[in-house]
């Protein structure tokens, strides 16, 4: 276990020295493996990990879901979602901010990237919120927070990667994400209602509704249809969650063409961008794989599980400890690397803990519940200071709003997220009910 802790310390040091996370993990993992097993073993481990990760069929979802998201981004469906959400919620105080959260949730669910959602939605929702005199803090906060919702609402690349690490059923993970995801949406809307009640100057009393064009209606219908296609396809047994990505990308092509106004150049750039993001993500996956080969060989996950079970702590205390570690790590690490680094270490613990709740007695269900918790904590990290990525994305799109303003605007949502996290931990049934019912 000592070797693993030293390795983690060196890894963090390298990451803070601005070595790309992927290469830092590969380097520490390879050297550590070599010190334990010899250089020959380490060299061949690197080669086979790099090649076999590249050949991994189940990871083909990564480029295809990213492509689907990028195609939807250029298709302009985001405007329709916003206009529809505005129709639905425009009447109440803070209605446009609530509409932003709803539209962000809907868009990020099918787009899959919270960063792309924040960037896209800021262009759609920000101008109208400004026109009606919303405070910049609430306006930017609702977009940054709303963008995080999608990584829990299926389809979700993060849940797929969790499923691959822990060998959980990806279809069940997707189903488990639905209620907590919708709960997040409701909590965010509640946060806006409370924030505007405490500080009425944040939002105007009421606002007119945005015009709703035919193209907007087409956009909303397209997003709903895509979501239904994927869910019905997976659960109706028409295709697997892995194949859903390919089908989704094809459907996104059709949507982009049907919406009109998308040029061949834009499609080429969307492909180019998807490819570059794919390589970035695979570099991280390969690096994390090399690192966790070393950590596993050094015996950290088993050692930790053995040590914790020996302490005979209250299992909820252990979960609380893990959540705290995630919140701290989330302040400095990017979300995918955080999940790839920590889930292999923590998930064997789930087999050791006895929560005294019937539904969690089955390790398969405990792992699904843990997935929801991990993803919600990751969502929180996306809007936590000092490096909440969604906040930085908004900052880079809106040059005239300061980071401090956005972080201030995110605060009510952050509190809502912590409440939701507590609720999800206390009531595992919320995450598992649909899984059991299916």
């Amino acid at each position: 276990m000592t070797e693993s802790l030293i390795a983690f310390a060196i890894l963090l040091g390298l990451i803070f020295a601005k070595v790309p996370i992927a290469f830092a993990m590969a380097l520490v993992g390879a050297v550590g493996f070599a010190l334990l097993r010899g250089w020959g073993a380490s060299w061949s481990m690197i080669g086979s990990v790099a090649f076999e990760t590249g050949l991994s069929y189940s990871l083909s979802v990564v480029p295809l879901f990213i492509l689907m998201g990028n195609l939807l981004t250029i298709s302009g469906v985001s405007h329709g979602l916003y206009a529809a959400a505005n129709r639905l919620l425009g009447g109440s105080r803070g209605g446009l901010a609530m509409a932003s959260v709803l539209a962000c949730g809907g868009f990020s669910a099918v787009c899959g990237s919270s960063l792309a959602t924040a960037a896209t939605m800021s262009k759609v929702a920000m101008p109208s919120m400004r026109r009606y005199g919303y405070a910049d803090s609430l306006a930017t906060g609702s977009i940054a927070a709303g963008g995080t919702l999608g990584i829990l609402i299926p389809p979700s690349v993060v849940l797929i990667i969790y499923g691959l690490i822990t060998e959980s059923d990806i279809g069940k993970l997707f189903i488990a994400g639905i209620i907590p995801g919708v709960l997040g949406l409701l909590f965010y809307i509640g946060a806006i209602a409370v924030a505007t009640r405490i500080k009425p100057e944040l939002a105007p009393k009421s606002e007119g509704t945005e015009p709703f064009s035919r193209r907007d209606r087409l956009g909303v219908l397209a997003v709903l249809a895509l979501f239904l296609l994927i869910m019905v396809g997976i659960y109706g047994g028409f295709f697997t969650p892995t194949e859903a990505a390919g089908i989704g990308a094809a459907a996104a092509f059709v949507i982009a063409l049907a919406m009109g106004g998308v040029s061949a150049g834009q499609i080429f750039r969307a492909c180019l961008e998807s490819a570059r993001t794919t390589a970035m993500i695979f570099a991280i996956i390969i690096g994390a794989e090399i690192f966790s080969n070393f950590i596993n060989f050094a015996g950290l996950p088993d050692g930790l599980a053995y040590w914790i079970s020996g302490l005979e702590l209250n299992p909820y205390l252990v979960i609380l400890g893990i959540v705290l570690i995630y919140i701290v790590l989330g302040c400095v690490l990017e979300s995918l690397s955080m999940i790839l680094l920590t889930v292999p270490v923590f998930y064997p613990l789930l087999y050791e803990l006895d929560f005294g709740v019937e539904i969690l007695a089955d390790p398969e269900y405990a792992l699904i519940w843990f997935a929801v918790i991990v993803v919600v904590v990751t969502e929180i990290s996306l809007i936590s200071p000092p490096v909440g990525l969604n906040v930085f994305v908004l900052r880079s799109v809106l040059h005239d709003v300061s980071l401090g303003t956005i972080f201030k605007g995110v605060t009510p949502f952050w509190i809502a997220d912590i409440l939701r996290l507590a609720l999800l931990i206390a009531v595992p049934w919320l995450s598992l009910w649909l899984v059991e019912a299916m």
Binding site: L14, I15, F16, A17, K18, V19, P20, I21, A22, F23, A24, A26, L27, W43, S44, I46, G47, S48, A50, F51, G54, L55, S56, Y57, S60, P63, L64, L67, F239, E243, A245, G246, I247, A249, A250, F253, F268, R269, C271, L272, E273, S274, A275, R276, T277, T278, A279, M280, F282, A283, I284, I286, V332, L333, E334, S337, V387, L389, F392, R395
Partner: protein, 170 residues
């Protein structure tokens, strides 16, 4: 797309305004075709299986090989654009000379890792070639994919080194 501090967005200029060069057109075209291919294979396989009862044979392994090719074809582009995720939290607050030194070291480490990966993939390719390893259903040889991956990992290593001269750390 990176976790940046004060210097945020130094590398995140919207690509839509950037001009495309030979590498973008060559490798990027290759990536675009592979993405279309991956999408097409899934659609043909699913539609064929469900409606015509004739699944595309070997869809699984074609997907695998295209995925591998896609990742390594895109790697030089990602590396050149400096899009590998870095954490800029502490780094931005260090004194300028230390920042310059660590930036050079970080670049050298990145290039080394990519170089080692290229070398190991080459060894993999040679071994697969000697064994004459082929896929299960279609008997496609695996070695060429490994050769391709090794070559592009090497190109990425070279491009990472080139960033030393490009003044990536403003």
């Amino acid at each position: 797309m990176q976790t940046t501090g004060e210097e945020g967005g130094a590398n995140s200029t919207p690509q839509s305004s950037a001009r495309l060069d030979v590498l973008d057109w060559g490798l990027g075209g290759c990536c675009a075709l592979l993405l279309l291919g991956l999408t097409g294979v899934t659609v043909v396989d699913v539609v064929g299986r469900y409606w015509f009862d004739t699944p595309l044979s070997g869809a699984f392994e074609i997907t695998q090989m295209m995925l591998c090719a896609l990742i390594f074809a895109a790697l030089p582009l990602t590396t050149r654009a400096g899009e590998h995720i870095e954490v800029d939290l502490l780094h931005g607050h260090l004194p300028r000379p230390i920042r310059a030194v660590t930036a050079v070291l970080a670049t050298l480490l990145s290039a080394t890792v990519l170089g080692v990966v290229a070398w190991r993939l080459l060894a993999q390719a040679l071994r697969l070639g000697e064994d004459g390893a082929v896929t299960n259903a279609l008997s496609l040889p695996l070695a060429p994919v490994a050769w391709f991956a090794a070559l592009l990992a090497a190109v990425s290593a070279a491009l990472a080194l080139l960033r030393l001269t490009g003044g990536q750390d403003r």
